[in-house]
Amino acid sequence: MAVDRYHLALTELLMQLADDDLVVATRAGEWLGLAPHLEEDVAFSSIAQDEMGHAATYFSLLATIHGGDRDDLAHLRPTMARRNSVMLERPNGRGTYRDEPHFDWAYALARHFFYDTLEIARLDRLVQSAHRPLAEAAAKIRREERYHSQHHAMWLRDIARGGAEYRRRLQIALDRAAADAVDLASVGPMAAEMETFGLLPDASHLGDDWRARVVQALDPLGWSLPPLGGTLNGRHGEHTQDLTLLLRDLGEVYRSSPGASW
């Protein structure tokens, strides 16, 4: 039943891609009006918008493979059916967007840097994917991600030069992001099939590749990659209460009238 395994592996892969972008876009979007200064507010919000656009692309692909409507897939699946990395669902800091948001900019940067580095390593493989529509989408998305990665690299360089307090805060942020990142560069229980069928070429080296790219960016600035931690694996559908709350807020309007044409 190779066809079924192929179908399952492709569904699994598209779900990881779509859920990662949906969740990271939501967290990045929560900086709207709160980023350190107006110009960065615009820049970071547009990055959030890009990520949401990528999520929409992946959900459309998922809908054609898995069946169903892409908005239903984004908003109506329960927490345990989600495949995003646990690191991405964590709040931006203390408080919530609507109630006393005392967010941590260094944490947001560290997390997004880890994630975008993964995205580029993953997209470099996906452009060779045996599933043609995915390979074509990946080529388009990779062009935008290159710009995101320049944005984070610029911030990391400036913070590295900013003095002891800046360096200390970013170190704490890197530690905190890494503490949930054990599942980030993993691709879940169907890794072997993804590689065998050519859906995600060289899937088995994705983790090492991500690690090498992170170290290459951090090392010249005098930081190292902290140990990765976490007891939950988002690729297996294991998540925190943070994701349940995020999905509740994100899908609130959609669930009020499913199927409505907006």
Binding site: E39, V42, H151, R157
Partner: protein, 118 residues
């Protein structure tokens, strides 16, 4: 766009003042033969950040050929010279000598009249 690639000039430049935001003036050239024109001002912590924010805030939907950012402090202004710049100097303009056309015509007419009478 190669301005904020690692190893570029912007990358080598140190932030204006450690940890402080500074005002940058943004200039863009919209075609290869176009003039470099002022676009906007913004706050940034370094030249590299200013380039990134300029593109994202003001030039997101436009194609550009080149982009400059200049710390406002690096721009020399002719402060207090306003009045000198506005002194009337009409004698330096061609239009100030238009009356000569009439005069020339007048003298020419007089000369013609003299010739006819002679």
């Amino acid at each position: 766009m190669t301005t904020d690639e690692p190893g570029s000039v912007a990358d080598q430049m140190v932030p204006t003042d450690q940890g402080e935001l500074a005002v940058y003036e943004v200039f863009a050239q919209t075609s290869e033969r176009g003039t470099v024109e002022w676009q906007a001002s913004l706050l940034a912590g370094s030249p590299a950040m200013a380039l990134m924010l300029a593109r994202e805030n003001f030039l997101r939907r436009r194609e550009i050929f080149d982009l400059w950012v200049v710390p406002r402090d690096a721009v020399a202004r002719a402060e207090g010279a306003d009045e000198l710049f506005r002194l009337p100097k009409t004698y330096r303009e061609v239009s100030d000598y238009q009356y000569l056309v009439g005069k020339w015509r007048q003298y020419h007419q007089q000369a013609m009249t003299r010739d006819t009478m002679a």
